[in-house]
């Protein structure tokens, strides 16, 4: 190698190719190639780090579950008796949001239409917001973070208020007889819910939101409301499905026994 002079150097492959091969344009294809315009490769070998992390996670989860299972027994009440209704009769905790909603309007609206709409909305999310921007970043941007925070505060305040006032001063009962039942049970609650949802969207419209920000507001509203309704139904509803403080339930009823 060292004693080869440049003139004696054998022709390189590319030089040969340039002389002998001809090229023609066959087709133009639109679309990015995998590495064009990407930064430096930030990947590492998955083995063994991913396998180790997953093993540790498995051990951790099993340890937590074992500890919980040693400390707390799964509830078991008397044998099922169709003639004796429990008071309150509650669905499993994850459906308590639904059961709570039933307290606030017509069952078809509250138990079928609203949950159906929510599932449809969640399914539609990636088709409404279909830009690639901000994927892989929590809340997308600082603005997204603020929007999520304010929406959360709004929902945490307004939803318990709605539940409380609708239970204590139920317009639907006060106006009974003055308006048709359908209006009271379906139109009025739907209208109230609609206003609660639209209000923050109107505020959002003033700052010219991206589809992502729009959908983030709606999702936050939905998620926080679901949590509030679930917690209310699960923790704050006692005998007669009345509102109580969880630590101040009448009789020997404890909401935790329903787990």
């Amino acid at each position: 190698m060292t004693n080869q002079s440049p003139t004696q150097r054998p022709e390189s492959f590319s030089e040969t190719a340039r002389k002998t091969k001809t090229y023609s344009l066959v087709e133009l294809v639109k679309g990015p190639t995998t590495m064009v315009d990407r930064g430096p490769d930030e990947t590492i070998f998955a083995f063994p780090i991913v396998a180790i992390l997953e093993l540790l996670l498995t051990l951790g989860v099993i340890a937590v579950l074992l500890l919980m299972s040693i400390l707390v027994n799964a509830p078991l009440e008397e044998i099922a008796n169709p003639t004796v209704t429990t008071d309150p009769a509650k669905a499993p905790w994850y459906f308590m949001g639904l059961q709570e909603m039933l307290e606030h309007g017509h069952p078809t609206l509250m138990a079928i239409l609203m949950p159906g709409l929510m599932v449809l909305f969640i399914l539609a999310i990636p088709y409404i917001d279909n830009s690639r921007k901000g994927a892989g970043v929590w809340f997308t941007s600082q603005r997204g973070k603020r929007i999520t925070l304010y929406t959360t505060i709004y929902a945490v305040v307004i939803m318990p208020l709605y539940i409380y006032f609708d239970s204590t001063f139920p317009l639907r009962e006060i106006l009974r007889g003055q308006l048709p039942d359908f209006v009271l049970q379906a139109v009025l609650p739907a209208l109230l819910m609609g206003i609660i949802v639209v209000l923050p969207l109107l505020v959002l419209m003033r700052i010219n939101p991206t589809p992502r920000e729009f959908i983030m507001t709606l999702f936050t509203l939905l998620f926080v409301s679901a949590v509030v309704f679930t917690l209310t139904g699960f923790l704050f509803r006692g005998p007669g499905f009345e509102l109580y403080w969880p630590w101040n339930m009448p009789g020997d009823y404890s909401p935790w026994d329903n787990l």
């Binding site: 930064g39 099993i62 299972s69 008397e78 429990t86 088709y127 690639r132 892989g136 809340f139 026994d257």
Partner: protein, 246 residues
Amino acid sequence: MKKIKAFISRVWKSIFRHGWPDNPLDRALVMTSNLFLHLHPVKVNRKSLRATYSFGLGVISIIVFGVLSVTGILLMFYYTPTVERAYQYILILETQVPFGQLLRNLHRWSAHLMVIVVVLHMVRVFYTGAYKPPRQFNWVVGVFLLLLTLGASFTGYLLPWDQLAYWAITVGTSVAGYEPLMGETIRTTLLGGPEVGQEALTRFYALHIMVIPAIILLLTSIHIWRVRKDGGLAVQETDKEGETDD
């Protein structure tokens, strides 16, 4: 001695088709030539391993599903879904079967944990925008997995056949009856009759131990496979603008 060593080596190599993974080639082969590890890509982005990015929620759901499968199969050894005996079997399990109470506790708390973790996983995916193209359809698959998780938990809730189970399922299924057109049909199909009884217990048992887990397994396979095909977890592009808009 040498022959035995060669024999062992032959058997070992018939199972594991790669050398000791201390070099790039074998580290790639260890992933691609092993069914379980092949769920992962050979190389992963550093950012996707950050604990505060994903919180490992997807992996945890699968781990908890595994715990539920194992404890669920063990529980099946001690359980019969009949109105006369289901409750008695739970009592026997809790008082006479070694570690029976622990087994039941594990299954119960894992079930609750799975609902929580799957919901949190969805929330994580939403706020990190990980549903964005090309992952739109995997989000849809995930939503169905969440609904199936609720279904699995709900059908299992009836099986102890105590007051808690009976009235929770009575209340829960009555909701279906509020659907104006098909509601009553859906409810009676689910329960196998007008009320929660033996037919409901039989159907819920079949759904709980067979139908729903089978569908969850299938959809989870599709879910993970698509994550892998889409290049692992969605992470921020490395160039500063992150603009790959099309």
